[in-house]
Amino acid sequence: MNIEDELRGALDVSAPPPTTTLDVVMKRGRRRVFAHRAGAMLGVAVVVVGIGIGAATLNQAAPPPRQADRPDAGPATVQHALTWPRVDTPPQKPYGTWSPASTAPPPAGRPVLPMPRCSIGQPKWAMKVYLGSVQLDDGFVQKWIGTVREQLPEVRVSELSPRSDKSAFLEYAVDLTDSGGTGSVRLVAGRFAGTPLEYADDNLWTSGDCDPPYRTTLPDGTIVQLHSVRAAEPFQTLLQVMEVFRPDGLMLRLELANYGSKDLRPAAQEGYWERIGPGRVNLPLTEEQFSRLGPAIAGVA
């Protein structure tokens, strides 16, 4: 066998039928042409206006510059119900804006969320036991579900969602339902070998955040870190991650999602699931509601 010959046949593989049509490509292409032309015209207008404003204000004192290492907290009128501060570190620069793939767009009528996208950082510290490899005993899982119900009396919390015995990834999920529909929260656990602060810092950007995450430290040294909401494929899935780093080396990762168990079905490959439903339009919990779960689960034995 010749490896180069194998490569030469790499295009002659069985393939699923293409889903892209000429119509879609030409529509997107025309929008792109229009955007380029509009952008060029806008650029000229901005330069002209900028020169005018610059000339008018040339002799006025400039306002004090904003501190570069402080993230913009937004307009003063925005109120954050969550009281945890963000980690004091510069934000990441977005490389683009979320747009759904044509093969799995959000359902008709659901607006596309132009969320900024930032690089997903790679952790530098290895986990002692990888996330999803720690088997939590039934007692722990039931206590966790009880904690979720206790902390979120306003939300209907299901029993533990079914999981495949064939899956090597150990996760525990419950559906969360309110008048807006059903979403879910999933719990996975891992073990780390350093301090909570080292691993919390190491995971600042591993969820693709642009702004630094919110963080709180509990009296026993546990660090709870709440990341920003991000959009993902398919159907413009919404996800938000919260991490709990306990001093005993247990890391718990909670992921809030806008889809529930009814939006999943077992995939052809045993142990895997595939998405069949788009889920609800928003996450089932506000940041403040979700943040209640972190400190509460930290205390579960």
């Binding site: 490569l7 793939a101 490959q269």
Partner: protein, 163 residues
Amino acid sequence: MRRDEEFSEFFTSRFDWARRTAYALCGDWSEAEELAQNAFVKAYAKWPGIRRETAEGYVRTIVTRLFLDSRRRGRGREHPVADLPEHGVGGGFSDPDARLNAALQQVAPKQRAALVLRFVHDLSIEQTAAELGCSAGNVKSQTARGLATLREAYGEPVNSESA
């Protein structure tokens, strides 16, 4: 409109080819479709300035660069271990197509791009360098390292033209 007619003909004849090229690079049909579609959208926007005889190379360059950009930006790491897989998984390793694809995915993205351009598309070192935007020497080293990784990933001894 003549522009649309020409583009339509080009799309009909070369979209599947671009999609298969993208699949050789990324190993995922869903992403390959997205890469190919984005490349053709860009080609449509620039179509009046593209000569018909170079259009194929233009699209291939866009596909390759979009793929490399996505890897630099971390798309390949976007769903690490904590997410459920959200689309189907390819065939088993008894399928030779799947086996080659799985082995290619073990090769680093830029080395993989060099292998695909050099051997799948049979481009010269200089043509490959132009498409990747790097030097000929860099293409040689990326190709050699890519082939070594690919052989190892295949898991059994294979002959090589360059061995």
